[in-house]
């Protein structure tokens, strides 16, 4: 019993040594905020064609094939001759992952907004924006529990996503 009391007392001592606030830790894997400046988020423009780097979804309408570049925009392909697709341009739309076409108009997502382009006038023209219709990205923490993450710094811009990375000094946790 006496031995037990000594051990119990010692254990208590060690437990009490554990600090309440954890210092920055080197995590195996942690979430890092991805930033874009406010002016960058809505930077929409039609550019000359460029290579596909991270292909997202496709959408086809008549002789037009759209190839999403994940979170970057949409590649335009003329497929009048499907054996010889011609890449005709790239529509830069930050954070775009979805698209659809009706009646000569293209619908796409741009962060939380639904945007509409007129395709009938040569190059796509931004015609309408409906704001805040898609779930916003949380500005404080990633959408998971029991994770380590780098605390977001509003001075760096808007948080547009959370990336999981290895060997990160994470200073926040939830």
């Amino acid at each position: 019993m006496r031995t037990f009391k000594i051990i119990a007392f010692a254990a208590l001592f060690f437990v009490a040594c554990t600090p309440d606030i954890e210092p920055p830790e080197e995590s195996l894997t942690a979430f890092v905020p991805v930033y874009l400046r406010a002016d960058e988020v809505k930077k929409i423009e039609y550019q000359s064609s460029k290579p596909i780097q991270e292909a997202g979804k496709q959408y086809v309408f008549g002789n037009l094939l759209l190839q999403n570049e994940i979170n970057e925009g949409i590649h335009f392909f003329d497929i009048r001759d499907p054996a010889n697709p011609v890449k005709s341009g790239f529509l830069q739309i930050p954070l775009c992952t979805e698209m659809a076409i009706k009646g000569g108009f293209l619908y796409a997502n741009n962060l939380s907004d639904l945007i509409v382009f007129d395709l009938k006038t040569g190059s796509p023209q931004l015609k309408k924006r409906i704001e805040n219709v898609f779930p916003p990205v949380n500005q404080q923490y990633p959408p998971f529990l029991n994770v380590a993450f780098v605390c977001p710094d509003p001075a760096k811009g808007i948080v547009v996503g959370w990336e999981q990375k290895n060997n990160i000094k994470a200073n926040c946790r939830r």
């Binding site: 979804k57 959408y59 499907p82 054996a83 697709p85 698209m99 009706k102 000569g104």
Partner: protein, 253 residues
Amino acid sequence: MTLKITNRYVLFYSFLLCCFLISGCTKDNQSLSANFGGQGGSTARFAVAGNYLYTVDASKLSTYNVTDPGNPLPVQVQDVGFEIETIFPFGDKLFIGSTSVIHIFDITDPGKPAKLSTAISPTVMRRCDPVVAKDSVAFATLRSGRECGGVQSILAVFNIKNILQPFQVASYPLEAPGGLGYKDSILYVCEPTGLLLFNIKNGYNPQYMKTLNDGAFFDVIPYGSLLFGWTKTGGTIYNIENPANPRKLSLIQ
């Protein structure tokens, strides 16, 4: 004088030709979408059906009136479930895939999607499921692993003759399937190994035919006589005039 007459005939025959082309294309796409026009894959979150645009995020279905296509009018937003992944319009129905079940909505009143039923795979715990429907069958790929949970990935086949009480009638084991699509009696299923072809003449009993080892496809779009399939790096365009024997035409890169 002679030139004028020639032009009139050219115009008339061009008009006839257009009619044939349009009617031909519409026939091909009747089972794919409510309105011939654009087409996305089975993993899309945006879908156009008739004069409406439907979008899904993780939990909500948003409906927009696009009768004036350049001016979408938000109609309503409704909660449909959780971990919603995909949307597939099919005639007067919307099939909405989530990680656990397929939600089936009626869009007879297109501005007010109404929940009809839920199709549940009896073996599913958590999977990601793009879904397509044809006549009285629905096909879904249920992918296990990573964020999707579950143990075995499958192609699940549902009897939707009674749309209010869909039930699974068959399953086929798969590795890590992505999206799917069909033309006539051929179902195309995306796998890391390539594109799997199934004969779905008897829809409730798909028969595996072969695999086109052309890349790790994420999704496909059957569109008239063409099939578009894409991977992480771009895509492949096939001619599927003979749906059981896709002919590679070109690469999207």
